[in-house]
């Protein structure tokens, strides 16, 4: 395409034609032909398994430790969970 005359004062309609023709040839590749408003409201996190599982596990460990009676029991519970097999609870100290 030939550019509009470079001389100052040349006809603006040539520029209008040049720019209009160029812009009118631009078509979007991926823009949807129908408007779909994005749902800005976040859906409730119905299931977030990993965090829920971790929280439940922590609560269970702490509860078990408290019920078993102290920091030593907590260690045993954690070791049990880590080993994947239950071990007998700590024996009461024998005098």
């Amino acid at each position: 395409m030939r550019p509009p005359d470079g001389a100052p004062g040349s006809n603006d309609s040539e520029w209008a034609h040049l720019i209009d023709a160029e812009l009118s040839s631009w078509d979007p590749g991926f823009l949807s032909t129908r408007f779909h408003p994005r749902n800005r409201q976040r859906a409730l996190p119905v299931l977030r398994p990993l965090p829920l599982t971790l929280v439940a596990l922590l609560v269970a460990v702490v509860t078990a430790a408290v019920l078993a009676g102290g920091p030593r029991a907590l260690t045993v519970v954690i070791v049990n969970l880590a080993n994947g097999r239950p071990q007998p609870p700590p024996a009461h100290e024998v005098p």
């Binding site: 395409m1 550019p3 509009p4 470079g6 001389a7 100052p8 040349s10 603006d12 520029w15 209008a16 040049l18 720019i19 209009d20 023709a21 160029e22 812009l23 009118s24 631009w26 078509d27 979007p28 590749g29 991926f30 823009l31 949807s32 032909t33 129908r34 408007f35 408003p37 994005r38």
Partner: protein, 181 residues
């Protein structure tokens, strides 16, 4: 299109009415935005963003201007915001913006009109696009950009002068420098 886009007195469904507006102005808005940002992919995202913004603020539209002018105002603001963000990001982290091809090759791949537009500052480019593509009058552009009509005229004059000079430089196989405020 009526004076309001959000009627609730037994008149047309505002969502389907907005869909009609989208169908009618999707391409003009996309092309105008692309003419301002000069990036095809970004223009698509910004077009979607423009219509999202328009949809959210459709209750504020009272028919003081045509829907096209209203949409173009949102589009221009969206495009200018994008260019500002790009500019700031470029200043902060310039290494992320190293192009795959050289600037020379990038410019040479562009059409004549695109190369002429690329030498303009965003402010001048907006006026050129609204005037020569959207075919808005000086007063319409002034209302859309909320600037005096005289400013529109001076920006258009500056843009034409810069584009003329740029094309003269292109004729001499040079890459023109960006001009205009």
């Amino acid at each position: 299109m009526g004076p309001s886009l959000d009627r609730s007195r037994g008149e047309p469904d505002p969502v389907s009415e907005f869909e009609q507006l989208y169908e009618r102005f999707r391409l003009p808005v996309y092309r105008a935005i692309r003419g301002i940002v000069l990036e095809a992919a970004a223009a698509e995202d910004l077009t979607q963003e423009t219509f999202e913004r328009a949809y959210k603020s459709r209750q504020d539209y009272r028919g003081g201007s045509s829907p096209g002018a209203w949409l173009h105002r949102i589009a221009v603001n969206t495009a200018i915001s994008y260019l500002r963000r790009q500019r700031v990001a470029r200043l902060l982290i310039p290494k992320l913006y190293v192009p795959g091809t050289s600037a020379q090759e990038e410019v040479e791949d562009r059409s004549l009109a695109e190369r002429a537009l690329s030498v303009l500052s965003p402010k001048l480019r907006v006026v050129v696009v609204l005037s020569f593509y959207a075919r808005m009058s000086r007063d319409e552009i002034a209302r859309t950009l909320q600037i005096p009509p005289g400013t529109v005229a001076s920006r258009l004059g500056a843009a034409l002068e810069a584009m003329r000079k740029a094309l003269a430089e292109i004729d001499q196989e040079g890459i023109p420098e960006r001009q205009g405020g």
